[in-house]
Amino acid sequence: MKVLVPVKRVIDYNVKVKVSSDGSGVDLTNVKMSMNPFDEIAVEEAIRLKEAGIATEVVVVSIGEKKSTDALRSAMAMGADRAILITTDQGVTIEPLAVAKLLKAVIDEETPDLVIAGKQAIDNDMNATGQMLAALLGWGQATFASELKIEDGSAIVTREVDGGLQTISVKLPAIVTADLRLNEPRYASLPNIMKAKKKPLDEKTAADFAVDITPRHTIVTTEEPADRAAGIMVGSVDELIAKLKEGGLV
């Protein structure tokens, strides 16, 4: 069974983002970039399927600037077998719909049995690519997965839903999107990081695919959220309760 995992290079989750002065987005200059954390979980799950003898090959795909190679090398250092990079022009926004269309073109060629994606990218927080890709392929989808089992040509997936958990089965080929608790991704060891540099990385450009990736959204403005003014410090529980009573809150 072949597993394909799309990965995205995003601002590292520990970085406090700054809105760019022209309001076009956030400032990406000299900012630490990493693989999207949900995509790391997806890569880890695919590698575990391979280690369990269920998957035979793990292919990682990234769409973006040339620097997205870093995310692909990280995934291969974790244990992915090979990578495909689809380069886009610098500064061009590739929306989830366009990503899904490009991934569909890759999947038509690669014919994986399972795609595991992160549930959302922590930059635009759109939470859409996996679902859109499933729609374009006409495949089943199991989003927000916290547990994945492969049985008799189906994926049995426990999903994190409001108020608890839901378990569904989807026929393979299918798309699974990873939630936070699916697993804890491993750290790549130094020897594996070195080995990853020699693993195959196939480079294509978005123009190689007959796909319209024109953005549908125009950014009007980007702003910082209104600051919440710090309030007052109280000295005791009695004072706190008095303040809450004053405000009619208790």
Partner: protein
């Protein structure tokens, strides 16, 4: 402008809070038709929401459990009469609506917090650390609304209920079961009071203290990601970017340092109270009332004196 809004139905029952708030968001865009995937009783309930002009009822086992393949097919089939397709940003809608958008070859607008005009919307990015206003060129706009800051629509409506049907079971997925946590406390995302515990609470046993304070205040229990990851609280209690987004009248953060990812989930609360023994904790920068104290003495004292 005509809006098709997907009602939130869980286990065959209408979730009034999320549905009603989604109607409030949708009514800014045009005439609201509410789609109910569930039994007739849920549709009757939905018809009472003021501002709903029509209820479409899809009472079919294929749509009963929110399976995305089936419900997305149904919505796409109904879409041609509508300029906007909307829902509250719940786990059900976040699963289904992006699939609908791709079927219609349009983009999705997730977690919209403000409607500027019929095709311009404001939404948070980077865990709410930036707000972006985007204008879409798509003919049909597919939107999920973040409900935390939306008001409930009034009751007393009497919309007509019509049957709707679609392509039924796509044969791609099956529902196996649900493990829903039941609680007598109010639902986290709609509670007027939320008491949340963080890593400082220290253990699963001590988390009972958070629950006791919540019960005393008639509120819901929440937790930070650190508390959930440490196994002190169930994951569906998590408040934050990767959990629930809440905006109660009163939010009490106990033993929570105030990581960016937690603040993203609660900073729209009307009044925030922080109790933490570390006076440098970032949570105090957003708190209306801060108390530097050991939670194991302050919380029992509060429970006793309230």
């Amino acid at each position: 402008m005509a809006v098709l809004c997907l009602a939130e139905v869980v286990g065959g029952a209408l979730v009034l809070d999320a549905t009603s708030k989604a109607v409030t968001g949708s009514a800014q865009l045009g005439d609201v038709t509410l789609l109910v995937c569930g039994p007739a009783a849920a549709a009757e309930e939905a018809a009472k929401i003021s501002g709903v002009s029509k209820v479409l009822l899809a009472d079919d086992a294929a749509y009963a459990n929110g399976l995305a393949e089936n419900v997305a097919g149904l919505i796409a089939g109904l879409s041609e009469d509508f300029s906007h397709i909307t829902a509250a940003s719940t786990s059900i809608a976040k699963n289904i609506l992006p699939r609908v958008a791709a079927l219609l070859d349009v983009m999705i607008l997730s977690d919209v917090i403000e409607v500027i005009d019929a095709d311009t919307f404001k939404r948070p990015i980077y865990a709410g650390n930036a707000l972006q206003t985007v204008k879409t060129s798509d003919a049909i706009k597919v939107i999920t609304f973040r409900t935390a800051t939306l008001e409930l629509a009034a009751g007393g409506g009497s919309a007509a209920v019509e049957a709707a049907s679609g392509t039924g079971d796509a044969g791609l997925s099956n529902h196996i079961g649900d493990a829903v946590v039941t609680s007598d406390r109010p639902e986290l995302t709609s509670a007027g009071v939320v008491v949340s515990g963080g890593r400082g609470v220290g253990s699963e046993d001590d988390f009972a203290l958070i629950a006791q304070l919540a019960d005393k205040l008639g509120g819901a229990v929440g937790a930070s990601r650190a508390a959930v990851d440490s196994g002190f609280a169930a994951n569906d209690l998590q408040v934050g970017q990767t959990g629930k987004v809440v905006a109660p009248d009163l939010y009490v953060a106990v033993g929570i340092s105030g990581a960016i990812q937690h603040l993203a989930g609660m900073k729209d609360s009307k009044v925030i109270v922080a109790i933490n023994k570390d006076e440098e904790a970032p949570i105090f920068q957003v708190a209306d009332f801060g108390l530097v104290a050991d939670l194991f003495s302050a919380v029992p004292e509060m429970i006793e004196k309230l």
